[in-house]
């Protein structure tokens, strides 16, 4: 069913929804951007429609709602690990189609990789209801069309933000009662049909080409350009890596808290083992590892689609102006070179 509601009416609905749901959406934090007098847009709980930043792409992805950067797993004592509690309410999350796709990409890792299901992800995931924010133009760093993530049918509600009013497609029967008495409207969300940015993902024909690609000089460029800050992976809609650390409350370390904290394969130390062993010790190698994961390795494992959803946040957030799209283009050229040499 389609509805048209004023912000005022929508806020009343929000208030009712909050008995059962936490409402999460991209929100603007004035002055909290990387540079002074710039803002940060990240996911946060909202109470009103006005708090939702719908005109600009968020700096940070929706994944933060399901997998916060720091998450408590257990509280431990000398002889016991006690699970942390999940939020009681359900989660209503406003997401663009790219972020919706990204959740499914994350699910593959958290819920099924190696036939192990991560309880922490699952318990959050089960609470999620999606409000798809209609996205029709994207921005100049988006390449969702290239990645096939420009469109999604997977939502409970879809919303178009107008001046002072929302137009909604309410698919999920759970939400129908909230809209009783509201003006109906004929509405199906539109989507991005073309991006300014096109990325053609090259095929890596075999393992030997992959091996040669790994040592191709193209990656050396990033030894100089990339500062290994990890901003790209934190901004990434699909990156899932984390490190488990213990915080100890007492001196002998027997009482404390086990946490999961987002980790980045771009930051030095990602592979460090006790005893001093480490891998991928240059920025170029780390870049290669990330790019191949997004545009080869993930698909090679799960057989379905590439990991990257083309949200372009890594491009937006890179303080060194490294574009993943340009990097993929360079990789395609390198593959052509390698294949040509083989023949």
């Amino acid at each position: 069913m389609g509805y048209k509601v004023s912000f005022e009416e929508a806020n009343k609905i929000f208030a009712k929804l909050q008995d059962e749901y936490e409402i999460w959406a991209p929100k603007r934090f004035v002055g909290r951007g990387r540079y002074s007098d710039t803002d940060m847009i990240k996911y946060d709980k909202v109470n009103t429609v006005e708090e939702i930043e719908y005109k600009e792409k968020s700096d940070f992805p929706a994944k933060e709602v399901l997998t916060p950067i720091t998450e408590s797993l257990f509280y431990f004592t000398e002889d016991e690990f006690i699970e942390s509690k999940a939020t009681k309410k359900k989660l209503l999350i406003f997401m663009r189609p790219c972020d919706i796709h990204a959740q499914h990409h994350q699910e593959k890792i958290y819920l099924s990789n190696g036939d192990f299901t991560d309880m922490y992800y699952k318990r959050m995931n089960e609470k999620v209801k999606i409000v798809m924010m209609e996205c029709t133009t994207g921005w100049d760093t988006c390449f969702c069309v290239s990645m096939g993530t420009n469109k999604s049918e997977d939502y409970s509600m879809a919303v178009r933000f107008g001046e002072g009013e929302l137009t909604l497609d309410v698919k999920d029967a759970d939400f129908a009662p909230y809209f009783e008495g509201q003006a109906s409207a004929d509405f199906k969300p539109d989507y991005v049909k073309e991006n300014e940015l096109h990325v053609e993902i090259p095929e890596i024909p075999n393992k030997d080409v992959l091996l040669k690609l790994k040592s191709h000089p193209m990656w050396n460029e990033y030894n100089k350009r990339c500062i290994s800050c990890g901003a790209c992976t934190i901004a990434c809609s699909t990156c899932t890596c984390f490190t488990t650390t213990d915080i100890v409350y007492n001196e002998n370390g027997s009482v404390g808290e086990r946490k999961r904290t987002s980790a980045s394969c771009q930051i030095k130390g990602f592979t460090d083992m006790a005893g001093g062993m480490s891998f991928r010790n240059t920025a170029g190698e780390r870049m290669r590892y990330k790019v191949l994961h997004k545009f080869h390795d993930y698909k090679a494992r799960f057989k379905d689609y590439h990991m990257c959803v083309g949200c372009g946040r890594c491009i937006d957030r890179c303080p060194e102006y490294i574009s993943i799209a340009a990097t993929v283009d360079k990789m395609a050229k390198a593959i052509d070179e390698i294949v040509a040499e083989e023949k």
Binding site: R32, S36, M40, K42, D59, T70, C229, T261, S264
Partner: protein
């Protein structure tokens, strides 16, 4: 050549005497060092019509036009009426008359600024906006004062060598839940700033708040936005100067003060100068004036009616390290000493020779 020119009068009008007899260099003020580019063609025209065809970038960021013959000064003053109007009256909201006489005074020197956060990734404040606000408080006034505004404590504007050096800072805010313990901020603070951050055993950041300069290197490098800029504040150094006699770097005077405090302070500058000079304006560098009055007395006047924000810190006293070009030249017979304040308030006198 036979000249009869009142050099001092011309100087106050912002024309500097040239070694070429009868020639002068006009110094156009650019408070905050940022103006519309359209003015550049006007500057070029003056250089080519009345000057010697060259242009000099003033060390205090004035637009300098050398080689103007004395007899053209009136014409040039008429020509720059529009510029002074646009820049000082319109842009800076300075309370002065728009006329054909050129600049009414050279007193308060042009306010220097780095480009600030209008462009610079490291800038913490909009430097030119603040400079423009200060301009209207100190100009036009015959009282000399040198002010510079730097976007951050890196101080590319060399505010530290001005009577008042303003630097933009922020109280940085740390969101522990967004921190991934990557240590980038620790490294950045160590390399670029004061090294007040460290990674603790729990993989989070500890900060030695006492020595943070509020520069924002941590917020700049943080990949997650765990660090971000909080309240926009200012750091002010006092008493810096260059010169043949006793150049010195300024000393930290105010820290974590709001714009209201900074502007409140400048609003008192003319009143303070008048008092210190016993209401008889004379050509004296602002910094020397502060020296004459003494720090404790100076702050009493300069902060009259100013309310400090709760985070604000002010120097209790300042002990400048003089860097005399000639040893002990500040030590001199009492007869050569200069005094501040009304004569009747002077506590002592000395015998005439």
């Amino acid at each position: 050549m036979n000249h009869d020119i009142d050099i001092k009068k011309v100087r106050i009008n912002c024309y500097r005497q040239s070694k070429v007899a009868g020639e002068f260099m006009l110094q156009l003020r650019v408070p905050g060092a940022l103006i519309d580019a359209k003015h550049l063609s006007m500057v070029q025209e003056i250089c080519e019509r009345w000057g010697n065809g060259t242009f000099h970038m003033g060390t205090r960021q004035t637009l300098n036009i050398p080689g103007i013959k004395y007899e053209y000064i009136d014409e040039v003053n008429k020509f720059i009426k529009g510029y002074i109007h646009d820049v000082d009256i319109e842009m800076c909201d300075v309370d002065m008359e728009s006329n054909d006489a050129g600049y009414p005074t050279i007193g308060a020197r042009n306010i220097i600024s780095c480009i600030g956060n209008a462009h610079c990734i490291k800038g913490n404040i909009n430097t030119y906006k603040l400079a423009r606000k200060i301009e209207r408080l100190v100009f036009p006034s015959h009282y000399h004062i040198k002010v510079a505004v730097a976007g951050c404590p890196n101080d590319c504007a060399k505010a530290n060598f001005n009577d008042f050096g303003i630097m933009g800072v922020h109280k940085q805010v740390y969101d522990i839940d967004r921190c991934i313990g990557c240590g980038s901020c620790v490294e950045a603070c160590e390399h670029h700033a004061t090294g007040v951050l460290s990674l603790n055993a729990n993989g989070k950041i500890d900060k030695d708040t006492c020595c943070c300069v509020g520069c924002g290197e941590c917020s700049l490098i943080c990949p997650t936005g765990a660090w971000s800029r909080g309240k926009q504040l200012y750091r002010v150094t006092l008493g810096g100067r260059t010169g043949k006699q006793n150049p010195r770097s300024g000393k930290l005077f105010l820290n974590w003060v709001t714009e209201d405090v900074v502007l409140g302070m400048f609003a008192n500058w003319q009143k303070f100068s008048a008092w210190a000079l016993d209401y008889k304006p004379e050509y004296l560098h602002g910094g020397h004036l502060i020296d004459r009055v003494g720090y404790k007395e100076f702050v009493k006047h300069i902060f009259e009616g100013v309310e400090f924000n709760p985070e604000a810190k002010m120097a209790d006293d300042i002990y400048w390290a003089e860097n005399e070009q000639r040893g002990n030249m500040h030590v001199m017979p009492l007869s050569q000493h200069k005094f501040a304040g009304p004569t009747e308030e002077r506590g002592y006198s000395f015998a005439k020779k």
